[in-house]
């Protein structure tokens, strides 16, 4: 190849590339450089619709959907882009569930404007058909599950493996994983549901969300549990073996994290894991700044205790 032809080729490609990139560069300049996203999350609320009773116990007066709704409303007034997510075990734990089988729990979440949820093992407690019918009748938010094969069950058309939520010009990809049901949930309650490897499934959804759907951020809602002493799959294991997940919001183990945990994923990038105990005693808050380059900063994390404490 002559030098001249080579110059034309290389230079031409460079010029073409420069021209193609220009509108993108200009578009980026006109858009705000950094966007702020506030992520609020709960897990293992376990039918705790009312605050704990004022019986002198350590949680007396804490929790409850009315107080949580007020906190969420106030944050939505202060922040432009707010996501509200739940990591499973909505059901079971107070007489509300024994009497109403989950109707007020799902209705309350719809009223509070939850953006998405994932199923916990106790959400099967009144049977998969009950969960499906409560969802169909009362949920205004999607149920996201990528590792339960619901083929032939009542949940088949009531879940999706991922969801993209738009906040302004941000595209937030959400996927969700549930725990192995065999040995944990009586078989007649989950029926034909088949458990699939959560790491394989979540990595696949995250890849789709980042690479195909151009999401700015990928969140995995998880009911696997934060970490175990044996090699059982957990949020910790998933974080280390993931590639495109930025944040895992966990549950199941009822762990009150002092601060979000940070792990390195397969490619050495950081994954954040958080969990906020149980019973709606606390609301997790993570404030991210997302730059147009794709860089994400978790600028602030806060754990908000809901409701009164004795002596207030």
């Amino acid at each position: 190849m002559s030098n001249r032809r080579k110059f034309l080729r290389d230079g031409g490609l460079a010029a073409a590339g420069f021209l193609i990139s220009q509108p993108l560069l200009f578009a980026r300049e006109s858009a705000p450089k950094t966007r702020r996203l506030t992520i609020l999350h709960t897990n293992d609320v376990h039918s705790r619709l009312e605050p704990f009773p004022m019986d002198g116990g350590s949680n007396a007066g804490r929790g409850g959907v009315a107080a949580r709704a007020a906190v969420i409303k106030r944050i939505r007034q202060q922040e432009e882009h707010v996501l509200l997510l739940d990591a499973g075990d909505i059901f079971q734990g107070t007489p509300y569930f024994n009497i109403f089988k989950g109707e007020p729990e799902i209705r309350a979440m719809s009223l509070m404007g939850y953006d998405a949820g994932v199923m916990g093992n106790h959400d099967f407690d009144a049977g998969i058909d009950n969960f499906a019918s409560q969802l169909a009748a009362h949920a205004s938010f999607p149920m996201i599950m990528c590792n339960y094969d619901f083929t032939g069950t009542s949940m088949e058309h009531l879940h999706s493996p991922y969801q993209i939520i738009r906040k302004g010009d941000l595209r937030i990809g959400i996927t969700g994983v549930g725990i192995e049901l065999e040995g944990l949930v009586p078989e007649h309650l989950y029926g034909k549901t088949r458990y699939l490897d959560p790491i394989v499934q979540a990595n696949r959804q995250a890849w789709i969300l980042k690479k195909k759907k151009n999401c700015d951020m990928v969140i995995c809602l998880s009911h696997l549990g934060d970490a175990y002493k044996d090699n059982k799959v957990s949020d910790e294991v998933m974080a280390k073996e993931s590639e495109h997940i930025d944040l895992i919001l966990g549950g199941h183990t009822h762990r009150f994290f002092d601060a979000p945990r940070v792990y390195n994923n397969k490619t050495g990038n950081q994954v954040i894991v958080n969990q906020v105990g149980w019973a709606g005693l606390r609301l997790g808050r993570l404030d991210y700044s997302l730059e147009a380059t794709g860089k994400k900063d978790l600028q602030r994390s806060e754990t908000i205790t809901i409701g009164k404490i004795i002596g207030d």
């Binding site: 030098n3 080579k6 110059f7 080729r9 290389d10 230079g11 490609l13 460079a14 590339g17 420069f18 193609i20 993108l24 619709l49 009312e50 116990g57 409850g64 959907v65 009315a66 107080a67 709704a69 007020a70 409303k73 079971q92 734990g93 107070t94 007489p95 509300y96 009497i99 007020p104 209705r107 009223l111 407690d125 040995g183 944990l184 009586p186 495109h244 930025d246 002092d258 940070v262 990038n269 950081q270 954040i272 808050r285 380059t293 794709g294 860089k295 994400k296 900063d297 978790l298 600028q299 602030r300 994390s301 806060e302 754990t303 908000i304 205790t305 809901i306 409701g307 009164k308 404490i309």
Partner: protein
């Protein structure tokens, strides 16, 4: 942006470094180098970096909030119905109950209620009752009037009472499982956990006989393989009686007798390192 990045990756590939650095024509080298710098600059600016660079932790923020009136209003009719059935006092609790490992007064109270009601209703020879620690869903119950709803909260699951006949050697295997879990609610049995194994087992105050047949009260959840798979083949009597109802009935018997509930605080399971 993705398409542009892809384009530049292809471009980057055809502008191989070896051609640039070993070119004899200096002008060509310069042109190529400029092209490379331009490409690199655009590539770096487009390439997403997902690394979180900083993080600040907030402390706990105790919120004093006025409950949302719309949500309170929505909950009100449900709360009224719950109150109608759940607020009645079913007994007087003489002392607070605590969930603890290896054993605690709350787990022991529940196990006592299962054993007592199994003897009254189904099998007077029942010797022992168990419940797994994870199945105890409140950490404590305060002393004083005990409401029906509290029993629903401590045992929300619709688990049913099962009565099993079990040989001593298989019972010991189950007790090792209980020990490996760190303990749990227990009635009729005393034991010591050493190296995650059950030792010094006493059944009704007598040393365990590996050849004897014992009568055990447990939940259908555990018997059907919840957390332990050793019961599946054993002869089991399905009572159809909710464990929660066993506890409520047990409480009502104290109320009828006009006495408050006291759970013996004797250690049923001990830990030895």
């Amino acid at each position: 942006m993705g398409a542009a990045a892809g384009f530049f990756l292809i471009f980057f590939g055809v502008t191989s470094p070896s051609r640039i650095f070993y070119a004899q024509n200096m002008k060509q080298t310069l042109r190529n180098a400029l092209a490379l710098i331009l490409v690199a600059a655009i590539w770096v600016s487009c390439h997403p970096r997902y690394r979180q660079q900083s993080m600040q932790y907030g402390g706990y923020n105790i919120s004093k909030v006025v409950p949302d009136s719309m949500v309170s209003g929505f909950l009100e009719p449900y709360a009224r119905k719950v109150g109608e059935t759940m607020n009645d006092v079913i007994a007087e609790l003489g002392e607070p109950l605590q969930k603890k490992l290896p054993d605690g007064t709350l787990g022991n109270f529940l196990a006592d209620s299962y054993l007592a009601m199994a003897r009254v209703k189904f099998d007077s020879s029942a010797q022992m009752a168990f419940l797994n620690n994870g199945g105890i869903r409140l950490n404590s119950i305060q002393a004083g009037p005990l409401r029906r709803g509290t029993i629903y909260e401590v045992m929300p699951f619709d688990n049913l009472m099962v009565i099993l006949k079990i040989k001593g050697d298989r019972l010991l295997d189950y007790l090792h499982h209980v020990a490996s879990e760190g303990g749990g609610g227990i009635a009729g049995v005393q034991m010591t956990i050493r190296d995650k194994k059950a030792t010094g087992v006493l059944i009704g105050g007598e040393p365990l006989d590996l050849a004897a047949i014992y009568t055990m009260v447990n939940s259908d959840y555990t018997v059907n393989g919840g957390g332990y798979s050793g019961f599946k083949a054993l002869p089991a009597r399905q009572t159809g009686y909710l464990l929660r109802d066993a506890t409520i009935d047990y409480c009502l018997r104290f109320k009828a007798a006009g006495t408050s509930i006291k759970t013996s605080s004797e250690k049923r399971i001990k830990n030895v390192q």
